[in-house]
Symmetry: D2
């Protein structure tokens, strides 16, 4: 077993860990430890909420989650020889649950607290708990489905440099300024009060926290990409901005659908990640790389039978025609899939949770045929205990009784 | 061999065929022929431009193409018993090239005549010719790649009814009205002058043509979805709006990448499609279906090794931050891939053509992490004659000399 | 469409074709035509019986087939520059049925005329007819299944030289000599009377026919390998023994299971093959190659769900223990699968035909654990219209009425 | 984490464990514990030699291994309600290495002590050590390859009843009687001296040991099947012969090629297995089941590019023709692959170890074409650091220096 270089005690709050986590990105956060190219090590991680969500049957905790106190990251780790302009090559060797924590959660945020991709349709907080049984997961709140995990860190990346930090802060502030009172806001701007800055402390930490990135969005450095295929066995090439690289990670998902449409999110879990690191000197310029690139794993779950839903960029409420809007098209594909699944007895929230947690594929099929994008959502049929294909007889109720957890 | 129920003589213009094609959608276009559920038949189709593009080394024809005279469709075909509210089940049994026409073309439209997904970057008309060798294609204009075909109709669907016709005309006209002088226009509104209305003629045809849908976008009925996986062996369930269904198809692609980003388009070809038809009575309500759904083919080409590029929704020119804009994010992923491929010696236009024609996968990875969407573009590495993976030595020029055809 | 360099008129007997076929292998058979490396051409082929089997509901023709008049091969074709010791690189670009011949047959030979892998259990001649519908096939004699074709030449290879010819004749004669009266014989020795020697004629042909190889077995040159994955899109490297190579092919199968256990055989068909050729000079020594090697196709049908049967090397009748005998173990695995399928209503012969024609995988799991081999047979569950997985309720009859064609 | 119901302390000998293992099969071995259908539990297992092989650079321990003291099994476990004639449904939920034991070994036995599939060619004991890095393994003794694990129990099955016990003892004794002095013997007959009988002791144990099955071969109950696809995520249906079933397992492999041709064996390891159990009442008769059947896992490593070697049933030394002998044909395919790999610099023993440990596929292609079987061996090309495909230039030495461990 590789040496555990960052451990997490789930019985303690994130603020009270032996090694301090960070929930912001900043160039000056010190490395926890520095490795040689080729080194293999284990990193333990909190679930993304740092333990705010319980394994129970109430969605109150999802409703009340504090979204400024999330994404407790493990790191940053340095690699000898990594310098700005290099590529940090990261092999995600394996990922697993912590003993006595073999479960995860999926939630729909309340519209007034984060919302989600379909928050106009499903504005209330709900929750489902997912138990892990080896490579599979099932839920007492969403019966009739079982998935093999496509376990991955929702969030992984290198520290930005000061230039990139400033640039993203500029562009995000400008976006927020176009509609500063919006709920939810257009972007999550720096907010020092709840920042954890890893090994930084005192005034330096306070100053850095005031300008440090929030962790919500993916950016050039990677970050919260929520790419389900960054799974165990994959290989990622990250741009390096600061000396040593500064690799951090967290927000482990047992399984997720493309888009992570439920926002809270995938099947969220605490766990560990085994990685090895290497460096390609000057790789950013050699290969013209701005954002991370990656290669998927040979053991990603494979399915050959899918039922695929289409969506076009026309608003479902108003009938308004959008111009080549992939966001609207994908939303329509998701809504189409949910209506379909409801015919088998699922509640809308259950179906929504399936799309957020199962290894569904979200594709951009056609993006040039004005004015409609055609987006598709592909559901692997094998995740269901029953046959979901259309037939002449029509669907029958296969699921009843159980439902997602709701608020009280 | 199934009976050919719609034949195309490539030596004649679309207007001069024995059976009239149609290049608009309208409820009143008469059925060419009506089949029983279970029937199998062959349909021949023009390439989408109706023969405007030649197998030569000049892009002048791409520059000058008349975009109001495109999408010459074969059909509509009726199915006994199909009525509004049913699902028309279409098995796409096989697809092939017409004898003596075993080639296709890919083009980038000039910015002032249609453009494409990356037209700001590649504003000039270019062309590449692709030869078919059994299941594979290669191009004298884009060396170093060979793909197995994922041959499919870019365009297939049932006739709309009058209500849907009017509704889409309304919403598209409203969109155009927001910026009526825009070039290219925000949508392609009805335009009777160049309409071919199949077996309709005289005043009826003229009246219908004035309100008939242009064929550019996908809509609720299917249409120009450009879904690369509607390939031979797939099964599609179309909503039925008019008695008999009225299934038409055309715009065959030998291969296409997700998004069909080059707009002109995939590898465009004339060819034939063998289909069988069936009906699920009342299927739209039974399954809650608004848009077509489908199942992919067991013989879709399978690749296990991909190189995957990420993009986020920040404008590449201005650095402007967009809000959860999957369109921008996918554009950035595409541009990132092009810059990478250029390091191996491809021109930008060649790399762009590869993304438009190879079976690349375009995914929405994360779409809720404000303000950035993370989109991914996955390129199968096996389509290249050489190794495109990153390594410590950096890339070397593998391709030189040949380039796409340009205008004179 | 590539030029057809060998055409077959199915209305004429093999003996009466414009270009003479050959049904024996001999170094001196003249090349039909010689190609340059890189050339692409189309070859038409008889079904392996040369038209002895009819599309009807009687198995009399299977019972009475003349097994010395089979494997009418198309070729041999030469390639410029190919010399003994080289590798002939053959891309199998595409394969299809001849127009008006979109069907095939599968038979069980009578025990006294050829038999099959399970002839002790199924000693009578039977037949099933399989219709092609695009990429799929179904049978009126075996309901409840539909396969995507894995179309391939059962027989393809280069001409042997005189040394290899003599060597195989020696070893096969020695085998037959151990039990010369056996029915069926231990091997098919040269038999000049029914030989077709291609473009050879007169005394030379007669002399060659007397020593020419029968086509039944695979040998070092390839030949009747019955490898289902030599399908369209695959690439094969053949040892070259004579100047020019002398590539011949035939015995096309629309689909076959590993082992071709029904012997007559797979789904047998007439058709065409498009190939291109190339040469690796000195490739046999460079790579240490004795038998052909090959690479499979990216469009081979892919299945992810299989039901897999095990067999061990103990005789099913006598309970006799065999020593590491993979033949017995695979037979037991096949018999186990047949008994299972019979529980769903199939006759034994129907189930046997499914194993012979569907893309089932036959594996050697363990071959060193004295005294038992463990062989496995994997059936893709998706080929059935119904669920064949075990469950607590037990199987129900899903198939009834129809059966294979039998003799009268 | 499921409850560990059978633990193994690698610092102690198998004879000294808290819970006694068994290395024989016998109906009367008492259950360690009995579970309810649906229960999930963890079972720890020795490596198959019980710790005889060290992580070092000498093959002396492989040379000297005591083959009567192997296959230390964990179990048997009972399931409530399981009775003779039922099927025991076993979900293999996950498998892993024990902490501080993240390595495995592969050996070739000396010809005079067990031998292997190719022992006539490679008669000397050798060894390679394989390190686990997450889902992958590499070896300091076999450079240039890295595999994703296809981790599985080589040995798993239910206790036989007295009738089956006697029947197999009879048939195996009769086989041995045909050549009783043979080295290695034709079968491993009961041998009480080194038997461990689990919780049995005293005279009862001694009496049972004298007739108990050795664990070498697979039999009707499962046992040492060495099926590489019984991996984590697979589901197996075992025949039940005794009340409670009596499920035992061991001999974990990190990875293995079809055939386990190196005999010692795959990549052998100690580890743990998480399983859940269920029962199908009367399933043996309902489904006509004699041997176990199973379904593979959705996370089995997937490869699309293979280089495939053919072999026919002609002896490589004598040129003797065998009659439909799949054993000889597969041996020839393996030898062909080894000669090929040697061209890249591997020693024969290294290449042999690759075939024994990598996820290679061994198939029976054609088994009816008298007198030759055509067997194939498919090597996934992606396991190599370099390109192993043939090309015009010929192979170059890619591997040098390191070799397998040998005896001193």
């Amino acid at each position: 077993m590789p040496k555990t270089v960052f451990s997490v005690d789930l019985k303690k709050a994130p603020e009270d860990q032996a090694i301090k986590t960070h929930n912001r990105w900043h160039p000056d956060i010190p490395m926890v430890e520095t490795f040689k190219p080729g080194d293999v090590f284990r990193v333990e991680c909190y679930d993304w909420t740092g333990g705010q969500i319980g394994n129970n049957n109430s969605a109150n905790d999802v409703r009340d989650v504090n979204l400024t106190r999330v994404h407790y990251l493990s790191g940053p780790f340095g690699v000898e020889g990594a310098e700005p302009g290099d590529l940090l090559v990261v092999d995600i060797l394996d990922i697993g649950a912590l003993p006595d924590s073999e479960w995860g959660f999926n939630g729909l945020f309340a519209k007034e607290n984060g919302g989600g991709f379909l928050t106009e349709h499903y504005p209330n907080a709900t929750k489902s708990i997912w138990d892990f049984k080896g490579i599979y997961t099932t839920s007492r709140h969403v019966p009739g489905v079982r998935y093999p995990g496509l376990i991955h860190p929702g969030l992984i990346g290198c520290l930005p440099d000061h230039k990139l930090l400033a640039e993203a802060n500029r562009r995000e502030a400008e976006l927020v300024a176009t509609d500063p009172e919006r709920v939810p806001p257009l972007a999550a701007l720096p907010f020092g009060d709840t920042a954890l800055m890893g090994q930084m402390s005192g005034d330096a930490a306070r100053r850095a926290a005031a300008e440090a990135w929030r962790t919500v969005p993916p950016r050039e450095h990677g970050g919260n990409c929520d790419i389900k295929n960054l799974s165990r066995g994959s290989k990622v090439y990250f741009p390096v901005y600061v000396k040593g690289g500064g690799l951090s990670m967290g927000d482990i998902h047992f399984s997720q659908g493309d888009g992570e449409i439920t926002f809270c999110g995938a099947i969220e879990m605490a766990g560990w990640i085994d990685i090895s690191v290497d460096v390609i000197k000057g790789g950013m310029a050699k290969y013209g790389i701005i954002n991370p690139i990656f290669k998927p794993s040979p053991i990603d779950p494979h399915f050959d039978d899918y039922l695929i839903f289409e969506g076009i960029s026309v608003d479902e409420h108003t009938g308004e025609q959008y111009y080549l809007d992939a966001h609207v098209a994908y939303r329509r594909a998701c809504l189409n899939a949910i209506e379909y699944l409801k015919k088998f007895g699922y509640s809308g929230e259950q179906a929504y949770s399936i799309l957020g947690t199962a290894p569904v594929e979200g594709r951009i099929a056609g993006i040039v045929d004005i004015p409609n994008v055609c987006a598709t959502l592909a559901i692997p049929t094998a995740i269901f205990d029953f046959d979901i294909n259309p037939n002449a007889s029509g669907p029958t109720k296969k699921v009843s009784g159980a439902d997602v957890a709701r608020t009280s």
